[in-house]
């Protein structure tokens, strides 16, 4: 039914800091990489505002997408020859790997939060809509684009493919842990990919791990956990993410109130009005957002111009630990202080509570997660890893939490008239930057 576009005459090679080289042999993959929708991922950073905390983290979703493709390519090479692997799914797997994040927009998490866009939805629209990507996929045959989309949205009947691309132990996470660690310059996320690929096995319904690989998986779980607390949830990044959201909310509020922007934010109006087309969405990237933010530094609205300046010039809010039992007392005092100096707590005060498990065996509703990590025992049976590893069992319910309060500390604390409040709040918090 489908018709492969065939091999390239000569292997194309990308130099990659994480995998050393990324190899492309398929016409299909090469053409997809060349589409403008895929090239657009160069203008969207993989870790959003994290570069304001870890300056090395400038890598983009373009890198990561190539990396996920490359790991999938290597994994298929390992699988090839095993009866559980059907090589007719090779191109489908590679396309899904390459395109799984193609719908991400600028600073995805903040935009999703403020405007309700969902990158999964846009991934699908890009794969199935009027795009160069769709045109390339259509060459393989009718319905192929839909199959790619189905693997990504996890509705494809081939559950092995689905779990390769998206599960607790998928190619996506393997690449981003290694890549984010490399670019941030931290060692926490570095695990032995070559060994990991060797202990993975295809099975009928999912990707599994052979029993002798148990320690590798324990290691992987711990690395991921470290990356979460030391990189992804770093308080400085939470502060810059918050600022970003505050800017977007303020701009939207102003637009709703018919505020007269000095430079009309044409690219963002479809977001404000919830009328975004595919063309509008593809025209958005982080350079565009930065353009408007820089214009907004000069806007008359004090809140917008201050927040935008803070973001562009990296004058982030500071944070203090914020234990639950002191919340009400501190909140009240801070709001009082803010009102004295004319700061709006809606924009200048953030309470942020995080809570996380090292291994997401259980969902928030207490049910077991849909795709836990399965070990293939020597006798061929499958066991969920926490049944076998005392370590994973121990940590599976070991929830770590963190509560912080973000606000423009220095501004408040520099004011003479605030000296008294400061002392009292500090006493409440035994604060720390």
């Amino acid at each position: 039914m489908y018709q492969s576009l065939g091999q390239l005459k000569e292997t194309k090679v990308f130099k990659d800091p994480v995998h050393r080289y990324i190899y492309v042999d398929d016409q299909l993959i090469w053409q997809l990489i060349g589409t403008k929708e895929f090239q657009r991922l160069r203008r969207i950073k993989q870790l959003g505002t994290s570069f304001l905390t870890f300056h090395g983290a400038e890598h983009t979703r373009f890198h990561h997408s190539l990396g996920v493709y490359e790991i999938t390519r290597q994994l298929i090479n390992v699988f090839n020859g095993r009866p559980e692997w059907d090589d007719q799914y090779r191109e489908l797997a590679l396309c899904a790997a390459l395109l799984h994040d193609v719908g991400h927009g600028p600073f995805s998490h903040a935009f999703e939060n403020v405007f309700g866009v969902e990158h999964e939805t846009w991934t699908e629209r890009i794969i199935l809509g009027d795009t160069e990507i769709k045109a390339v996929l259509d060459q393989v045959g009718d319905g192929f684009a839909e199959e790619v989309a189905a693997v990504i949205r996890k509705t494809h009947p081939n559950k092995l493919l689905v779990t390769m691309i998206s599960s607790q132990l998928d190619v996506d996470r393997m690449d981003y842990l290694l890549r984010d660690a490399h670019f941030a310059g931290v060692s926490y996320g570095t695990f032995d990919l070559e060994r990991m690929l060797r202990v993975l096995r295809p099975s009928r319904d999912q990707l599994v791990v052979k029993q002798s690989g148990m320690h590798s998986i324990e290691d992987y779980i711990m690395r991921r956990y470290q990356m979460y607390w030391q990189v992804y949830l770093h308080p400085v990044t939470r502060s810059s993410d918050y600022l970003l959201k505050a800017i977007l909310e303020r701009a939207q509020e102003l637009y709703a109130g018919h505020y007269d922007f000095t430079v009309t934010p044409f690219h963002l109006i479809p977001l404000f009005e919830q009328t975004m087309t595919l063309k509008d969405y593809l025209a958005l990237d982080e350079t565009i957002v930065y353009f408007y933010f820089q214009q907004w530094m000069e806007e008359e609205d004090k809140v917008l111009s201050d927040l935008a300046s803070r973001f562009v010039n990296r004058k982030l809010f500071k944070y203090v630990d914020y234990p639950q039992e002191k919340r009400d007392a501190v909140h009240e005092r801070l709001c009082l202080a803010f009102s004295k100096i004319g700061l709006d707590p809606d924009y200048y005060l953030l309470e942020d509570k995080l809570s996380r498990l090292p291994y997401d065996l259980y969902l928030e509703n207490g049910e077991i997660s849909r795709h836990p990590i399965m070990l293939q025992m020597k006798d061929g049976t499958l066991k969920e890893i926490s049944q076998v590893s005392p370590l994973v069992r121990a940590i599976a319910t070991s929830r770590q939490t963190d509560e912080k309060l973000f606000f423009p500390q220095e501004e408040l604390y520099d004011l003479k008239e605030f000296a008294n409040e400061k002392m009292q709040i500090d006493t409440l918090l035994r604060g720390d930057h």
Copy 2:
């Protein structure tokens, strides 16, 4: 005369993929990093368009400036205690290291080429003008900012400082070789920095190398040479640089001809009109340039919209080797072909000839370079390295050249009516992608 701002209460630490950690102990340095002019360097990539060749090369001038500062800090630690090093120059050296590139604008080389801006001039204006950086430096004392500028422009009387910051073997090159290699993901530029710092010595008039470090310097020279040919002068990067320049030239030409842009390029008009103020310059960065390029993809002018689309979507011109003896014949045929399909050779045809020495001992006029690498012999005398190292002597005159022709090959070659010309040109060139 000058008054140090003192030490920070607690060392500030940046995680850096190249130096692992960057340490800041001085109030002065910490405040400089926090200025908006320095933070702006986050929006200017270190290697311009190289990320279109090596996707990892997204690192910015912000990283590099911190790295040059860090190497200087380490070098001063090594020097400290030696009679030739006067530690009162410590803060001056650190500031000059940190700020030496602060005047770079977006895609510096292309902009300098097309509009005649010089980043050295702007570095000086930023350090001495109405900026946050100037305000921070002024706290140290009157005249300190001017001293920093003097070290950077090489007019400061302390030649040791000058050569530390700028010479054949300076902290600038040490950082960029390591950093560019790391982010591009290539191994060619990686030398042993720790050893290099240990063989460097301060002397009265310049930075020198102790004799036993000769092999380290040979290694460093070879690494630099490799980086030039394998990274900095990579033909794909030359192609993207060319495209960038062509876009800027076309836009300027249109502006000069009173073309009516759909979106007025406010940020670029001062460049077109040569009326750039410091404020204008600081408002320019690569996100701004990308904004306009993306608008220009929709412009009516076909040349501008085509070139801008090519750049944004990475449809670069291909290249062929272009030996001198065939130049006229090929050029004539191509111009003819271009005219048939309506391509303007001024924008669509680039002859590019490169020529480079591994070690710049001799200037183009045959004179010896001003700051060659000097070895400090065991008896204390100084000798230029090529007098001691047979290897360096051998390569000092070993010029490597490369001539290429860039043009939109596929467009031409896909045309049926061009088949004949193609064959004849190919025969001339025995072309290669």
Copy 3:
């Protein structure tokens, strides 16, 4: 009272694969490294027989001792200037670090096990006996050698020094995790040493960790745990260790029985007779042991010659998992089989049960360990880490066990007459190599 030997005229530098460079500035340290007792550590591998599993693991106790010294040197640099650190203890700390393992003999664990020698005892005898090391230390002053010994044996009144050299989080473990991982070629043991040193703090009674370093310590604990299961307790290494012990036991038994060795094992007789002098001990190293083992390959005693040949030529026993409930049945059958082919189960059959906690908070008697890892909270109080980290708390009681049975499988299984037993044993074990 004590008189430093002063600084070297020029820093001595060792190239080290783990710390890149090891720096020696002190005459005292330089002289200690040059003693024959310290140089002897070059002939004793750090990981005993592990090189038979991980061929890279050829590194010696000489490397490790230098590495522990270097980490201590760096740690003291970090501590210097803090009121809790008294720099008069610098040389004492460096000597204790350098010499802490100087009493190790060949294949320490096996020799300790078989002959009851204790490396701690010999470390002390070497530091306090008639040795070049003692002569060097005596130059500092009477009693200094005793102080070094006291720090190493943990009886020195300065508990900070004691815990720096020997505790759950000491310089010894920091070096060996990094070094063993590097030479074995595995990534599991690699943690961020530079950051670790920055979160350590001197306190009155011990080395502590500042609160913000909690995640670093979690990471360190997990790396150590991985190294135990993936390297130190690797079943192949357990097999070679077992073989080594069996050889030594057999030789001792033969000697006790007045067996007439072809080449008299002069170096080992003091061990057999428990009459070892300091001179005897220092004359022993792994090259000596290997000499005798190679002679023994030709001995008439079949058990000794077979075991020695197996060790030298790496024909190790294979292993099978050995669940407790099947122990008696399997054991009985194997002994029966052995008797048929003339193998002595005392030498040819090993039951090995391991059990280990990731973090040794609790001693085997249930009491809390003497030097647990203490966090220094923001308010200055100390808390044992499992009280603060949910992760460490979760794993502190998560004991992992492993039971294996080692025997020369192939020899047994190749016999036709054993086919039946084999099948039945396999059925019992569902064995795996």
Copy 4:
């Protein structure tokens, strides 16, 4: 004619610090690795006495042989499918790669120098003699062992195989540069193996490099050159090598003079008497040599005991630069001084002159070397690299030399009565250790 032993049921994997993993799929290779002659390589260090200079350099010829095998395996994977590669030679190439160094004995260079043994001869005897290796190879078919030997001795008609294993750009050098650099802990030898393998091409008569790989080869040549001067020819290693040779010469002289050794050096007598059998040779390794050296520290002969003690305890001779024009004057004075304190210049004074080219295009007789590095141009023709690369051409005749004098400086210099001579010699030499 030949019969492959087939594939293993499951790939065997060695963890390797250089190549990360070494994969064995062939029964034949697996069995060869298990032979006692191959396992013996674990007891012979790759870099002889270099570990006395670079303590990390404890790696053995076992590691290196596996590494050469692994690179060959990868290279064949790259070649596979190309018409110039005939895959029937796969096992032959792998065996030759694995076994090419199997005849090395302890401290090969010193032993070859003193006793005239040649490792190439012994490699052949081991492959063709009464050994486990021969037995394994014979399973493939009669004559196969001879073919393996022929590839290694470069007489095999398949010149491609010969040059893969042994030429200016062979798998042997590729592994040892990477491995020696890794274990010594230096960065000079690290080149990009993955890229190197991608630019190599099989051709009819030899291994060649495709034109676009020219810079990679330049880089490789420079790395090799750096490794020679910074590691292999390091003066401290030359000093320890010299000491080793002096010991062997003294022992041989004593034996020839019927000296009565306390412990008869049975293993070495066949060397002294030139009656070495294959069995004798295989019984020799570095643990055996170290055993005798340690006995000799107690010998009555003062020269032997002193030299042996110096080697075992690393009290090496120091060195001074020794320019040719001062040779006679210095030599005379030193011999005079030696005679006063009873040192025999034959054992205690070494003049050592080194001379080396970065790229061995020309033989010492001025002829061109037999297997220079050939580039395969785009038009298919082959050109020797120095005809194409200006860099290689420049360095091909850039000979570097080094002259040093080694002697037990401190012993001489500590003597009062020598003060005068010392001053005069120093004046002659402007000496430096």
